[in-house]
Subunit: 641 residues, 2 copies
Amino acid sequence: MKFFQRFHQLFINNSRHTRSKIIVVPPEARCHTKAVTGTNTSFTARSHTLGELRVDHVNTKVKLCGWLQFQRYGRFLTLRDAYGTTQLIVPEENAELVEKIGSLSYETVLEVVGTVKARPTEQKNKAMATGDVEVEIEDMKVLNSCKQGLPFEIRDFTKVNETLRLKYRYLDLRHQQMQKNLRLRSKFINDIRGFLCNKHGFLDVETPTLFRKTPGGAQEFIVPSSQHKGHFYSLPQSPQQFKQLLMVGGIDRYMQIARCYRDEGAKPDRQPEFTQLDIELSFTTRNDIQTLIEEMLVEVWPDDFPKIPSQFPRLTYQEAMSQYGSDKPDTRFNWKLKDVTNIIQESQDCVISDDLKSDSNTACCLVIPQGKNNISGKTINKLKQFGKQLDASVKVYFTKVQDGDNLQGDLSKKLSQDTAHKLIHKVEGVSMDLLLVATGKWTDVHTVLGRLRTECANIYEEQGVEVRQKKAYNFLWVEDFPLFLPREDGEAGIESAHHPFTAPHPEDAHLLHTQPDKARSLHYDLVLNGSEVGGGSIRIHNADLQRRVLEDILKVEVGQLEHLLEALEYGCPPHGGIALGLDRLIAVLCDAPSIRDVIAFPKSSDGWDLMSRAPAPGTKEDLSHYHICTSDVMSETDLSK
Amino acid sequence: MKFFQRFHQLFINNSRHTRSKIIVVPPEARCHTKAVTGTNTSFTARSHTLGELRVDHVNTKVKLCGWLQFQRYGRFLTLRDAYGTTQLIVPEENAELVEKIGSLSYETVLEVVGTVKARPTEQKNKAMATGDVEVEIEDMKVLNSCKQGLPFEIRDFTKVNETLRLKYRYLDLRHQQMQKNLRLRSKFINDIRGFLCNKHGFLDVETPTLFRKTPGGAQEFIVPSSQHKGHFYSLPQSPQQFKQLLMVGGIDRYMQIARCYRDEGAKPDRQPEFTQLDIELSFTTRNDIQTLIEEMLVEVWPDDFPKIPSQFPRLTYQEAMSQYGSDKPDTRFNWKLKDVTNIIQESQDCVISDDLKSDSNTACCLVIPQGKNNISGKTINKLKQFGKQLDASVKVYFTKVQDGDNLQGDLSKKLSQDTAHKLIHKVEGVSMDLLLVATGKWTDVHTVLGRLRTECANIYEEQGVEVRQKKAYNFLWVEDFPLFLPREDGEAGIESAHHPFTAPHPEDAHLLHTQPDKARSLHYDLVLNGSEVGGGSIRIHNADLQRRVLEDILKVEVGQLEHLLEALEYGCPPHGGIALGLDRLIAVLCDAPSIRDVIAFPKSSDGWDLMSRAPAPGTKEDLSHYHICTSDVMSETDLSK
């Protein structure tokens, strides 16, 4: 019914307008197509996409548009669009067309009218979705040409240098893998909205990106104001303040696919702008939000992916660090750290027990199964170097298990036979295992072993030894993080482990007055295959507590946050939320080596848009308009040369 | 089934976690509720929202959360949330609770456990959705207090000064109208995505906002780079270049709800950042895109609004200007302009025929029906002033029709009896009508009369005389715009009427070489009730033509656009698109006096965020990080004082 209506409209409109549209496809054929595809031909000249023709379409007259991917003898053409490829053939007698086609360069844009034919059985191409048919060309129009000398062929993008791909991103986007990645991204995000907004009544609220600096966070880009000389907006690193203010405003179920900005300089696999799924609810709990995310991911999980469980494992920060030496453990492989402090400490006979003289020191062991075979002496030396670079205060001993209960390597001389036995027994080592025993401060020891654990797994996999479970999507929650950490810049005092709006764990509320560095928070991280893909918390909703944390504990000047503190005083509901880093999450889903492969127009790792060459030198005109100066300024005329 | 699963999970999670959730509502009750509301209680502590309780819920035990809107005698409370209000009562004997409630300030956040009771018939409140019931409180918890002295009551926001509303936006958002506006916005945009992505296979692609300046457009904000001294990103005024590059990249059906930026200084009802629905398709036509937008708006149009037609009227620019004196005519009222050049010109007897001595001059007349009664002499003087301010080169004569065929006022002496008769006859004037006759250059005359037409309608409506059709949503297309216009800055030469990527009308292609200023374009505007709510065009896909337009006709230096020109050379498909200004469109839907009323956190008209006081003075640290200077710089420590 709707289809006929649309055709009716088309004809009416054509009669009204001079630049009319040639309908070569009889309405019935179009309707038939629509019933099959539903979507991708509406409002265009084509009757079908290049991915959809099947034997059912034989004898249908079609109009196709796409890029010339390949041609042989001027008679056989492969035409490509976003949806696939279709083989076209030219009747041999049409010498004129054969000649014309012979002269076309690849990537020329064509519009073709023809009839679908079944391919002879022996010529069917099972590897091609449309391989059972071909289209006999009746008429062909070159819609646009492509100049000779493409920077790269549109085949397998992993073979093209990434700099070239970024410079010619508009060609790179034609790669099937990029098309697939962006399609998965669009659908995944759209399904998330469906779950949150349509099913659970969330409100999609857009928050500003021209805002005021939030003190104490990441470096934020600044934007000079032309109206207010010497004043600057900041591009926010997240809508954190706004989402909390929405809760104060009674918008009690908020979501946004939010553009965020962080000026982190040249970090690999970071982007100056990125996208997060931002969620906040009033009257909620940590468990509620975790359940929400679990239900959401289960529901939007792509159909052709291995199922994920309806609940994700939850580890405390303490558990994650003890077992994996990481607050974002990759649980696709089981190698776990084991505390061996007692064994080393009790054995007065061994040299390394000296390492544990300080009470706060520990010893911890990681077993690399069959490491003797898989990790060479040279690699061990590299790993030792790597460990030292990570943290020189941690000592790491590499030793191998021999004959079931003897040690070879660093510890063979340093441990007594008895201690060695106990150690091997405790860590369940068997012959040929490589043991990494590290001593030093608890957090440092675990962090170093955690990194070495990942490094050894990478070494195994580079050698073709499978360590991580294939096609596994191991989500897990890490929670009960410390609320504060020692300041990263080395100065005395503590800083927020996440951000100053994180609520303390209710069991530790009393510690805020006495030992804030011991307090846990209601922060939680969502981890997928060893990547942090999300984080959130229950927030502080009490103005006094928030002021105390900012002023007394963090010693932050609250001038820039007065509006938020005042908002908490006017009836702020208890609330909490989470943000998922969509670029990273989707990169894992697409098995992409870099988040750049799931972003249409990413910056290079040092912040360049290689295609347009942004950022560009500031012009005199702009700088004067914004009341700023730099040491190196050109005029617009200089620039365009 | 799903509900039980969820409850099952809740209990499992509770047993696993120390900070467990108290489930006061028996699972059956919750399930029942969910069956009714489906959405707004999941993942929260409440069992029901404050808008949903009905007689069906009588005897249900409920847990409610919300803001104290009102209380009487400490016994009757009105609790409010985003979904409505519910009356709570305290049993008289619970003196302790009565006292506690008596001391609470309004806007305190409460959590209440109680049982739903039917109200006695005489106490039912028909004006309240939940007015048939009340909840008898069994337990009450103050979740957060609200300090005394709210800046305004949460009642009717139109009565509050807008500066105060913006400063305390988090309180303003509690107003029912703001809640309704943001809810309509969220749903409207979500439905648009559903139509485009789910039904028509569009891809939602996010494009960067840190980009390179597009020459010749609006003033773009600049963002200094810390990594590249003296270099700046620009915040794009639209994703125009990106969407065209996506087409080159074979992403042939693109949509985005795009954040755009324009630094326009203090213009009323403009925002430095705004949101547009951005659409682009390959292999499409103007008519296709217009049909797409018509089908989309019909489908997403809110159910409780008057229906809109399945096709919108289409006017050429020429028609719109001739009939309404505007390229965005408000067709909710019929007052049309009529050309009277011949009548004036032919009558050698009248003084004003001198105005038409120049061949290019015209005379045009607007009839204001019954203007004699409704527009006073004093107002006419003001209108004359207004006309002169708009364009001093246009002469406007105000004259009234008397006794059917005589004129009073400016023209009574200046036209002969015969000419007056002809004029009245031509414009179908009747007694008591006010005629506005303007002479001058065609475009100027029509523009001035177009503005006076709107102005007179406003004057009528201020006096309570209805002119515009009520609750009407008059969409229309304006098309066949000129491709170029004389430069706005008064310099010699022409500039793009819209942007330099607009394709010329195929019938006028030949004029590009000879008389480019006469060529029409394939640009189209979508107009709603006299506001331009969208615009788009078929784009130039041919590199040579694009270069010719930029270099030869517009004399633009193309250095900054080389990437786009090169992209067109590598097989760019024919394409076109449109962008709808969502803030404005939704403001019309919400009948909001300003777009600020449909944006959660807008800036004031001079670019301030009155809540956070952004933009803020630049700090020494930031300026030095970004290698820039201003004449007026403070350090971070100065700032927080």
